[in-house]
Symmetry: C2
Subunit: 150 residues, 2 copies
Amino acid sequence: MSDILREIGMIARALDSISNIEFKEYDLTKGQYLYIVRICEHPGIIQEKLAEMIKVDRTTAARAIKKLELHGFIEKKADENNKKIKKIYPTVKGESIYPFIKRENDHSNHMALKGFTETEAETLYYLLQRVRGNIDKEWEFVKKGNKRKY
Amino acid sequence: MSDILREIGMIARALDSISNIEFKEYDLTKGQYLYIVRICEHPGIIQEKLAEMIKVDRTTAARAIKKLELHGFIEKKADENNKKIKKIYPTVKGESIYPFIKRENDHSNHMALKGFTETEAETLYYLLQRVRGNIDKEWEFVKKGNKRKY
DNA sequence: CGATTTTTGTTGTATTTGCAACAAAATGCA
DNA sequence: TGCATTTTGTTGCAAATACAACAAAAATCG
């Protein structure tokens, strides 16, 4: 069987590595760009959902967000109806770096798809979305402590 | 532009997370499975190449390998002609868990491609390989301290 | 309503990860 | 050949990551 996952792993690590190096310029440490884009695109999101979205452990997200707050990129607001949750919003500072993150990501996307026709790029996107749908379920299953059989 | 990279990042983190949880059963800590498969498939490889292959920092690979050696999964051997390099080989113990890692990876691949036709799976593999080729260059460029322009 | 379960968030601890800086062997080149 | 550069490997730090265990609010359900 063709090892799709190995390719995906290599690509992901390479790109994450590049992004982390490039975002140091904006005082973002490893992985923080992931949270900022999601928070800007989903203002009011709670950290539990953010972790699910990014596919990272809940506690990792909690600490990353705490640090982003400490550095003034985002802020947490209490919810009126639900005392348990804390909604997360970007600050002006957070909003202001969003375009730079997008620009970098766009550039990487562009480089990644060099030599691709429009159709090929769309096909890839479509297939990847389906893979993610499949994997989403597996991730939640295993993350919740269940054991896969194979 | 469709954000291929975000999809790839999510898929990769989810899968890595699953693998790490599942391989604890074999006393492998985070990421170690990556090295073992490559070493079994390329016995005699040096750690510099391993890092390149996996797309991880040189020092990260160095430490992961040191730990694998310490736990008896692999061994380093000096080269006769080149005093600088250390060739890495799996031990019997290392070889013996390779099939389990493969089996888990195969299962994840299978789950990831659920609902895919043979052709779709092949197309995806083909497109991903091209993406990786593109990204490989970028990674080396940035990792070596160069600055991308965009 | 009340008890149980789920959701959401936190902290303690161990581990991996990666940058910087160094060293030594190998290679390239004038 | 001799000197500069590249390759390969290491260690010191600082930081992210994740598992375990806990707490409290909310939701479910008899």
